[in-house]
């Protein structure tokens, strides 16, 4: 037996060598086309989704937080007892309605106009109450200073 088989695969092969060739042959280089791994966008999408969810949650939280249980449009409004005698034209809503209807044409619909007038009345009521309390504070502090 010579070693030619080991050099150029000529001559009589050694069965042991052949067996080793068969075993190791499965691991030989097999040419295949280059495959470039695809870019994984999952993390970016996950971040974007998280941000959207966070924005949504933040928005809902702020909205819920900025509103009382009672919607502003349904706020009850009764004339308080301690409000001091006031100018009747400022209290009676009817003249105000007529007065403002003439002047403010920018409010498009009647419903919006009505809502605006209601809001205005509430605002005036709140300001009257606020200034009344501040007036009381003023009187008391003056009295103490005096």
């Amino acid at each position: 037996m010579n070693d030619d088989y080991l050099w150029d695969k000529t001559g009589q092969p050694d069965p042991e060598i052949q067996r080793l060739e068969e075993i190791l042959g499965t691991l030989r280089y097999q040419p295949k086309p280059l495959v470039i791994p695809r870019r994984n966008y999952f993390p970016l999408l996950a971040i974007a989704a998280s941000l959207l969810l966070a924005l949504l949650a933040g928005g809902i939280w702020l909205r819920v937080r900025s509103h009382d249980d009672v919607p502003p449009q349904q706020a009850t409004m009764e004339t308080p007892g301690p409000v001091p005698p006031v100018n009747k034209s400022a209290v009676n809503p009817t003249p105000l309605v007529a007065h403002n209807r003439r002047r403010h044409k920018s409010v498009s619909s009647a419903a919006e106009h009505q809502e605006a007038l209601m809001a205005k009345e509430q605002l005036m009521l709140a300001l009257r109450l606020t200034t009344q309390k501040l007036h009381l504070v003023h009187i008391k502090t003056q009295h103490k200073v005096g």
Binding site: P37, R39, N40, S50, L51, A54, L55, G58, L62, S66, H67, D68, D69, V70, P72, Q73, A75, T76, M77, E78, T79, P80, G81, P82, P84, V86, N87, A90, H99, N100, R103, H104, S106, V107, H113, E115, A116, L117, A119, K120, Q122, L123, M124, L125, A126, L127, R128, L129, T130, T131, K133, L134, H135, L136, V137, H138, K140, T141, Q142, K144
Partner: protein
């Protein structure tokens, strides 16, 4: 081997910070007082005044305030920039209809977040009157008035830059007597805080 796509943990953290920072800032500067804890007093009260004007309603209310009428022009100037006006006022026919814990739900909120108690008046006849201002830096960011009497509980909350000079100009108008209000300089915080 260098990965094709590498996420630094700082990136999402920075993004979350950017998302939540405005919300956190809004929380810090918000002068809105939650009054829902007083709602149960409505059933006991003989008279209730409740005003809830958010920013949208303030805007539309300002639209119907006339520029020609002197009183309304003054009010219009006063409410410019104000984001909300909230009032809850209860009148009771008998004493003891509300408890200290009810008032505490309001007072607790006024003890923090930049609120300063300007005035605290106590008298047997009128009960306790407290005036609070919220300062954002040197600017007034909100006003709160708390009046507690044996038969009355009133909370007024104005959210936004309240101009006390303009409020003072309402004196003698809207049926309000002269107040003699002066703009306060920012004072030291209460000892209570």
């Amino acid at each position: 081997m260098k990965p094709l796509f590498h996420i630094n943990i700082r990136t999402p953290l920075l993004a979350l910070l950017l998302v939540f920072a405005p919300a956190v800032m809004a929380q810090v500067q918000d002068s809105r007082i939650q009054m829902a804890g007083l709602d149960h007093l409505t059933a006991k009260a003989s008279q209730t005044v409740e005003v809830n004007l958010d920013e949208r309603l303030m805007r539309i209310a300002a639209k119907v305030l006339s520029d020609k009428d002197e009183d309304e022009r003054q009010v219009k100037k006063l409410v410019e920039g104000i984001k909300g006006v909230y009032v809850k006022s209860f009148q009771f026919e008998t004493d003891g209809q509300y408890v200290a814990a009810d008032v505490e739900t309001i007072r607790t909120q006024l003890r923090g977040r930049g609120w300063t108690r300007l005035v605290n008046v106590t008298s047997k006849k009128e009960g306790m009157l407290e005036v609070y201002l919220l300062f954002n830096a040197d600017q007034v960011g909100g006003l709160a008035v708390l009046h507690t009497d044996d038969r009355e509980l009133t909370v007024v909350n104005i959210v936004g830059p309240v101009d006390l000079d303009k409020l003072a100009k309402l004196e003698g108008q809207l049926g309000i007597p002269e107040l003699g209000i002066e703009s306060p300089k920012k004072s030291k915080k209460d000892d209570e805080k």
